[in-house]
């Protein structure tokens, strides 16, 4: 990605820690992010890889403005908005898929009118058919993730932050979801993409950040970073087997 494009979102020396209990960690403080600096350029697709619990979700939450850093600054370009897409945006099991989709769309910033106009598309894309009118508690896991993915897909914001939403549904729906996602990602949309599916990250992202224990350990070309990351995982597995 050319660095001449304008910066949409910039993090400078961002640390985030919070109080847990008196007897653990560093005097009861848990450090999730430590001195993270990064830039997000207009129109690029940035991938974030890393093992569980290294701070990926927290980093997305800081980028989305949900959490404020304990230290450091987050600068968003004027007039831009960011939204975090994750599965299951507060689904209410007793309500129908339609009601849940309406609520989720409105929570993601649509007006009531816009949200209502999305419903037909959501019903069609999610392939839920008559189940769309049934309570979500009767849905299978695959059906709820299909609904969640489709609802999330309808959001239109300047910066899309995507947290692990491609592992949804059966093979057929996953293919469709991926295609829809790729269409968004390859367009002018600025995207930050977190996933355990390293192949997808490599394929879809222009640039990748590798996060380890709240620090950025590598940043750059998606192929180089993802292969270094995959190598480290393999090495880790090998070491574990040896011991």
């Amino acid at each position: 990605m050319s660095k001449t494009k304008p910066i949409v979102l910039e993090l400078t020396d961002v640390s985030l820690s919070f109080h847990v209990s008196k007897k653990s960690f560093d005097h009861g403080r848990h450090h999730v992010l430590q001195d993270v600096s990064m830039q997000l350029y207009d129109g690029e697709t940035l991938g974030i890889v890393g093992r569980n619990g290294v701070g990926k979700t927290t980093l997305l939450r800081v980028l989305a403005g949900i959490l404020a850093p304990t230290k450091g600054t987050v600068r968003m370009a004027h007039g831009k908005s960011a939204s975090l897409l994750t599965l299951g945006l507060g689904f209410k099991p007793d309500l129908s898929g339609r009601d849940n989709a309406l609520l989720a769309a409105m929570l993601q910033g649509s007006s009531r009118k816009q949200a209502l106009s999305f419903l037909a598309d959501i019903k069609e894309f999610s392939e839920l058919g008559d189940s769309f009118e049934q309570p979500v508690k009767n849905y299978s896991a695959g059906m709820s993730s299909r609904l969640a993915f489709t609802t999330a897909l309808m959001t239109h914001v300047d910066v899309l932050l995507i947290d692990e939403i491609l592992s949804v549904g059966d093979a057929h729906f996953r293919g469709k979801a991926l295609a829809a996602m790729e269409a968004r990602v390859t367009g002018e949309q600025t995207v930050v993409f977190v996933s355990h599916m390293v192949d997808q990250v490599e394929k879809m992202c222009d640039r990748v950040i590798w996060l380890e224990n709240g620090n950025i350990v590598a940043e750059g070309d998606s192929k180089e970073v993802t292969s270094a990351y995959t190598e480290s995982i393999t090495r880790l597995r090998r070491d574990k087997i040896k011991h």
Partner: protein, 257 residues
């Protein structure tokens, strides 16, 4: 988020909560009317059948006090836990944190409409007349709403800071129930004590005002009502500003505490 969007969202969240509630129970929406009727039924059994009070007045006195108080106590208690209970959502989107308690308060309003309608019917059925004085209910309801919202905001922030406050709020509601003149008449105290209770406890004043209007066709002390409205209105505005400026801190507390 525009104000219109915010208002729509509160309304939708409240109505969805109600719908979810209604589908969970066999009797669904009937509970809205059944619950106040059951309260009156319980009072009838305890105070008329067991304790032998012959006064229909007393039953209406209790019903008015209790049903007004329940609006306040239920709304504030559940709104207090609303941000923490909504942490699934709090961790995913940056919405104004006031949205959570506001949706719960709105839910309470919809239910309370049914409760007040039931109460009015019971009062009329027991020979109380609907008079022009009932217009005073309009400012009274507005002030009551402002008091609920202000307390809901304070409670929701406190519970975010430490979950322990939820226990204290429950206990506080019990304390208020006994000190707000629901089971006894503030006006039966000597003048000095009555003034003290009404001055110190706005809930006691509000409950007494409902009774004065609906049972005795008497206008409440409007200056007192206005003072309560302004005081809690100011508290509400301060809380909106606090919750707006500390939104991310509240999110962190809700997610990690």
């Amino acid at each position: 988020m525009s104000l219109l969007q915010y208002v729509h969202l509160i309304d939708i969240m409240a109505r969805m909560n109600l719908r979810a509630d209604a589908t969970r129970f066999f009797l669904g929406y009937i509970w809205w009317i059944l619950e106040p009727l059951l309260w009156v039924g319980v009072f009838y059994v305890v105070f008329v059948t067991i304790m032998g009070s012959r006064e229909a007045d007393f039953l209406m006195f209790l019903a008015t006090g209790k049903l007004v108080f329940v609006w306040f106590s239920k709304s504030v208690a559940s709104a207090s836990s609303s941000i923490v209970n909504g942490k699934g959502l709090v961790g995913k989107i940056d919405v104004p944190k006031t949205l959570f308690p506001m949706a719960v308060v709105q839910e309470g309003i919809y239910k309370q409409i049914a409760v007040f309608a039931t109460l009015a019917i019971i009062l009329v059925a027991n020979g109380y007349a609907v008079t022009a004085t009932w217009w005073y209910l309009v400012p009274l309801l507005v002030v009551n709403y402002v008091v609920i919202v202000a307390c809901a905001f304070v409670g929701a922030c406190l519970v975010c800071l430490a979950r322990d406050f939820a226990q204290l709020i429950t206990l506080g509601m019990l304390f208020l129930m006994f000190t707000s003149g629901i089971f006894w008449d503030v006006r039966s105290l000597d003048a000095e004590k009555a003034k003290l209770v009404l001055d110190l406890n706005p809930i006691a004043f509000l409950i007494d005002a409902y009774r004065q209007i609906m049972m005795h066709a008497t206008a409440p002390d409007m200056l007192h009502l206005f003072t309560i409205g302004v005081g809690f209105g100011a508290l509400m505005c301060v809380m909106v500003l606090v919750m707006r400026h500390r939104s991310q801190y509240l999110a962190l507390r809700a997610l990690t505490a």
